[in-house]
């Protein structure tokens, strides 16, 4: 259902401190910086992660915006485009009660439709984590993954295949095509495809008719002689 995972580098949660950084002080707030290494900006389709005792989550996105008119914006100017920070999510509650275990280590999935602004042309992401409860020693997010929107890549691939213009560097594919052209023994494509379709239909019906009901047997080949339990 989702697109392919996006390559990105994710920094460890950095706790926000006040004054001397060595002094022990818990502000209940931390940030995670995510950067996408490619020079091109990316579109985000979905974010998934496993919560680890974070109560509230905000997401800030650094996006490249097309400049329509020349404006004196405080953001870094880059010729025709401007880099601005926009808010994707603001204080979304991950734990219903920050003092209690409920959903403290659950998995979450945030889709692009749930974000306040469409996450397109994103250069980097900053996740702001908050945990107001003093009950917990530490908090963060684990297993953070970004995915691209679903349709884009598959459509691109399809159009490429239809038009027949494969990427030039794809030598292996060209090689195969050459061989196919040379080899006259291979039957016409239509024939193969009809027979394949039949086979596919057959296997499909077989798969559908298979029940998952178990027969309730617990022995193996009629034997259930056991001496000791195994620890693994």
């Amino acid at each position: 259902m989702t697109g392919k995972p996006l390559v990105c580098s994710i920094r460890n949660p950095h706790p926000i401190t006040i004054g001397d950084p060595r002094a022990e002080f818990s502000s209940g707030c931390a940030v995670v910086d995510v950067t996408f290494p490619s020079t091109k900006s990316v579109d985000i389709g979905e974010i998934t992660f496993k919560n680890n005792y974070t109560a509230l989550l905000s997401i800030k996105l650094k996006v490249r915006e097309e400049n329509e008119k020349e404006e004196e914006e405080p953001a870094e100017s880059d010729g025709e485009t401007t880099l601005t920070w926009v808010t994707g999510l603001k204080n979304v509650q991950l734990m219903p009660d920050p003092h209690c275990e409920d959903r403290a280590q659950s998995y979450y999935r945030i889709k692009r439709e749930q974000l306040l602004t469409p996450p397109d042309n994103v250069l980097s992401v900053r996740l702001v984590l908050q945990q107001p409860s003093p009950v917990w020693l530490s908090f963060g997010l684990d297993d953070i993954k970004f995915y691209s929107p679903k349709d884009e890549t598959s459509e691109l691939m399809l159009s490429e295949l239809v038009n027949g213009d494969m990427p030039a560097d794809d030598e292996a594919m060209n090689d195969i095509r050459k061989r196919v052209k040379e080899n006259k023994d291979i039957p016409p494509v239509e024939e193969i495809s009809t027979s394949l379709q039949q086979m596919w239909a057959l296997s499909e019906t077989a798969r559908i008719n298979q029940t998952e009901a178990s027969l309730g047997r617990f022995d193996v080949d009629g034997s259930y002689d056991i001496n000791l339990l195994s620890y693994t």
Partner: protein, 524 residues
């Protein structure tokens, strides 16, 4: 972000349809549809539409609805599908680890029992022995084998000890008293419901509503409540709809209708296939001898056979529990909790994947008092197969939660936390007093909770309690009742000065009336 999104919903629908396709209902419905389609009145043009309406008229829709409802109850409250399987079982890592360690302890204890007594865990019975067992199937209780060396694998006391030592490694908890230290024994910051939330959840129990258990007592004329209630019950049964029966059970069932109402809620209908299945399980018991059998035997002897109310059911209990241990369909409920069944290898095939088996086949290792879950049902059902299937359903839906560690709101840890928080909030003086004299309330109440009060309350009162468990589809009522009992005996408890004295005050619960107690605790 919460609530089912389209994708989660379609995932749920997928799962329910997949599960339903594995049931006989699917084939039965297909046959019914085929039979309908062969009738002359059917036109190919509107085949789909008329088939659907024909199935609806012939009662199949009701059956399908019941089946879907049942599946939804089981599938609900699942983690997202992106989570790895172990996270779907239990999201909290330390809880998973604790359950794993506890299981290992049970394994060790079983293994050491095997080596000490030099008996195998399982063996095939020789034909002579099989014949003998078959001949005395209905009087299994009369046999008196020497089981003095067998001991129950664990008792509620051992399990409580483990629960009390559960700690969240990420919490600011310290051994010294600090403000993060909780008063009670359960030191986990679990979310519990307040009395206000419970009042809304259990609103049908309120004093203004007529209840079975109060208004059907012999002193009150029958025509005030009881006869109307029974009439309504009959109509509910005619409708054959699980949610309806569930709603009915919230106010308690009349004794005569209880069996049928419960079966309807649980979706248990013993047909010929089920009878066959039951016979097959019986033959498994005859073929193989398990070490677990001795444990079950011993537990029945120690609990039910020793009890004034339940001793008559001894033979029946032996049959039911032996059969239960061979039923692999029980394994399904392990998919939703942190627990994993014990594994072993067929003799001589150690480490070979295809010879790995679960032990016992049902995956459930009985503890001391396990028998009482089934014993209380013997008052409701007398036919073994029906009794068995209702027991299995009750176990996989409810009792299963009572002896595994999990953060599930119905799990035993949450129930303990709920009990302690209720008692602390509404009877702080009592709680502090008992804690001071070394009688932590949970130490006394734990065995009640773990056994769902089976064998502690009077038998009629217990069934009224289980009516509510089924009706509200929640075990939280157990914690409420435990709190109510403490609150009710508070005057006596405030005078005790030792654990033994406190236990003595609460040792006999058979005289308590369930419904007034619950109402007192929730709504006064």
């Amino acid at each position: 972000m919460d609530g089912a999104t389209d994708m989660e919903l379609s995932h749920l629908v997928d799962m329910v349809t997949r599960n339903l396709k594995a049931t006989p209902l699917y084939t039965d419905m297909r046959q019914a549809a085929a039979a309908q389609a062969q009738k002359d009145s059917f036109h190919l043009g509107d085949l789909k539409q008329s088939l659907l309406s024909a199935l609806e008229e012939s009662g199949w829709e009701r059956k399908l609805r019941n089946a879907v409802y049942r599946e939804m109850l089981i599938c609900a409250q699942r983690e997202l599908s992106i989570a790895p399987p172990e996270d779907q079982k239990e999201p909290l890592t330390y809880m998973r680890k604790a359950q794993g360690a506890w299981e290992k302890r049970i394994l060790k204890s079983l293994n050491s029992m095997c080596t000490e007594l030099s008996v195998p865990l399982a063996r095939k019975r020789p034909p002579q022995e099989q014949k003998e067992l078959l001949s005395r199937w209905t009087e299994l209780g009369t046999e008196e084998p020497d089981l003095s060396h067998f001991r129950p694998v664990y008792a509620p006391k051992d399990f409580l000890e483990v629960l009390v030592n559960l700690r969240n490694p990420n919490s600011n908890w310290t051994e010294q008293a600090s403000h993060f230290n909780l008063w009670g024994l359960v030191q986990l910051p679990l979310r519990t419901k307040t009395r206000k939330q419970l009042q809304t959840d259990f609103s049908e129990l309120s004093i203004s509503e007529p209840q079975a258990g109060v208004d059907d007592s012999p002193e009150i004329p029958v025509d005030v409540f009881a006869s109307e209630r029974t009439k309504l019950g009959r109509r509910v049964l005619e409708a054959e709809h699980s949610p309806l029966a569930q709603q009915y059970a919230k106010k308690g069932c009349p004794t005569g209708l209880r069996g049928a109402i419960w079966a309807q809620i649980l979706g248990v209908k013993v047909d010929s296939v089920d009878q066959l299945y039951y016979q097959q399980l019986k033959s498994y018991v005859i073929h193989h001898d398990l070490l677990i059998d001795s444990l079950i035997y011993k537990d029945v002897k120690l609990t039910a056979a020793n009890d004034d109310y339940y001793f008559v059911f001894e033979d029946l209990l032996h049959q039911i529990l032996l059969i239960f241990s061979r039923d692999t369909s029980v394994l399904k409920c392990f998919a939703h909790t942190s627990a994993t069944p014990a594994k072993s290898y067929i003799r001589g095939k150690l480490g070979m994947e295809e010879f790995q088996v679960t032990y016992p086949p049902s995956g459930v290792i009985p503890f001391h008092g396990f028998t009482m879950y089934a014993a209380s049902l013997c008052f409701v059902y007398d036919e073994p197969a029906r009794l068995y299937f209702v027991f299995r359903e009750m176990y996989t839906r409810y009792f299963f939660h009572l002896h595994h560690m999990s953060s599930h709101p119905q799990g035993i840890v949450s129930l303990c936390a709920l009990f302690e928080s209720l008692l602390q909030t509404h009877e702080p003086e009592l709680f502090y007093h008992l804690k001071g004299v070394g009688a932590q309330p949970l130490k006394i109440a734990f065995k009640w909770l773990m056994r769902a009060f089976a064998g502690f309350l009077g038998s009629d009162q217990l069934l009224l309690l289980w009516d509510r468990v089924l009706g509200f589809n929640s075990l939280e009522i157990l914690s409420v009742l435990a709190f109510a009992i403490f609150s009710f005996r508070r005057t006596n408890l405030l005078e005790v000065s030792s654990y033994a004295a406190a236990e003595a005050v609460l040792s006999d619960l058979t005289t308590l009336k369930l419904v007034p107690l619950l109402q007192l605790a929730l709504f006064s």
